[in-house]
């Protein structure tokens, strides 16, 4: 089991041009010493993720979770959408969080489905809820809201009660049933 310092040193050795900006995770106001996240720019994401999965020292076989945070009106936030990748190495038993920031008007990140198959539906959920486009995804459709839904509900500027979607929903008649 490698410590996070070792993992980040390994990464810096392989990608000397990237900063990674490693920081400890915050948990309930306190920092936890053994959990870190790194930042990767969208252009280099697939390259870094492939290395993290394949290298013997890191060996992150599993993508635990892929989600997104909308940092609209968040104090001191430079970027709007923060994609969060939670990685787990079954071989070594260590974890790492990777963050990737994108912005309006057309937030785009490369898809990691080619690296972890399980990213498929998680990327579709982020696409549905935040409108972040995953380039290279094999089947990028909405997954939770219905066909014809026009908004991205988990964006902070979306009203809780919606914009009339629930009021204007179709009524199924006997002929159309």
């Amino acid at each position: 089991m490698a410590s996070h310092e070792e993992i980040i040193t390994t990464l810096r050795g392989r990608f000397p041009d990237l900063k990674f900006d490693a920081r400890p995770l915050l948990a309930g106001g306190a920092t936890t010493a053994d959990q870190h996240y790194i930042r990767v720019e969208p252009g280099r994401l697939v390259e870094v993720m492939t290395f993290l999965r394949d290298d013997d020292r890191t060996k992150f076989e599993q993508l635990i979770d892929l989600t997104c945070v909308d940092y609209l009106n968040f104090p001191d936030a430079a970027d709007r959408y923060g994609l969060v990748y939670s990685l787990l190495s079954i071989t070594h038993g260590h974890r790492l969080w990777v963050k990737c920031f994108v912005n309006d008007p057309s937030p785009k990140v490369p898809s990691v489905v080619s690296i972890w198959q399980g990213a498929d539906w998680m990327e579709r959920e982020v696409f549905d809820m935040f409108g972040v486009v995953f380039e290279g995804h094999p089947d990028l459709r909405r997954i939770l809201t219905w066909d014809g839904f026009a908004a991205n509900p988990l964006r902070k500027d979306y009203p809780l009660r919606g914009r009339g979607e629930r009021e204007n929903y179709q009524v199924v008649e006997r002929d159309s049933a």
Partner: protein, 199 residues
């Protein structure tokens, strides 16, 4: 002595047979087929949330909805005539509920069980239907979050009153909206322990 004022202990088998059949025909003439129908409701459980747990409790032995002839819950709408919508309905689920209702055989009735099915409840969000009566003709609204089995049984008894009174009017001719609300008809005392005056 008229034939129906009999003393059962002094009658032969033939008398009982003919007399009882007579009474039975007379009974059905007076009460109609609706009497049989109201005592043999076949619920279609559409349980999407915690109200479904109370619906199961209503069907189980302690509350025993079989006492009201409504114990045969079928999971095919083709075999049912009482839709019990228990729980919140997401908008993506609404076409399923509407198709379930359409597939049920006439005559049919609908119970909207609980706050969420009736009004959306606390889920005042973009994805939840704010009352299934926007899409279905609801006969009885059962209040509660979730309603206790007694309240649901009161709702089923309200349906029975509707069946007895309205009979077999097809659902398309029935209006939308509230007809009978399942509330206890008696005064409910508030115990002293929680600030009431009931001992």
């Amino acid at each position: 002595m008229p034939k129906h004022e009999y003393d059962p202990h002094s009658m032969s088998g033939d008398d009982i047979l003919t007399t009882r059949l007579d009474e039975l025909v007379k009974f059905f003439r007076e009460k109609g087929v609706n009497w049989a129908r109201k005592n043999s409701l076949w619920p279609m459980p559409f349980a999407t949330a915690c109200c479904g747990i109370e619906l199961m409790a209503t069907g189980a032995s302690r509350y025993d909805v079989a006492r009201f002839g409504a114990e045969v819950m079928r999971f095919s709408p083709r075999q049912c005539d009482l839709l019990i919508c228990a729980g919140r309905v997401a908008i993506k689920m609404m076409p399923v509920l509407q198709r379930t209702y359409i597939q049920m055989t006439e005559p049919k009735w609908v119970i909207s069980m609980g706050a969420c099915a009736s009004t959306g409840g606390v889920f005042d969000t973009y994805a939840v239907v704010q009352g299934i009566d926007q899409f279905l003709p609801v006969d009885v609204y059962v209040p509660g979050c979730p309603p206790r089995p007694e309240t649901l049984i009161e709702g089923i008894m309200a349906i029975q009153r509707i069946v007895e009174k309205d009979g077999i009017i097809p659902s398309a001719k029935r209006g939308k909206g509230m007809r009978l609300v399942a509330q206890p008809t008696y005064q409910v005392g508030v115990p002293e322990a929680v600030g009431g005056n009931h001992k």
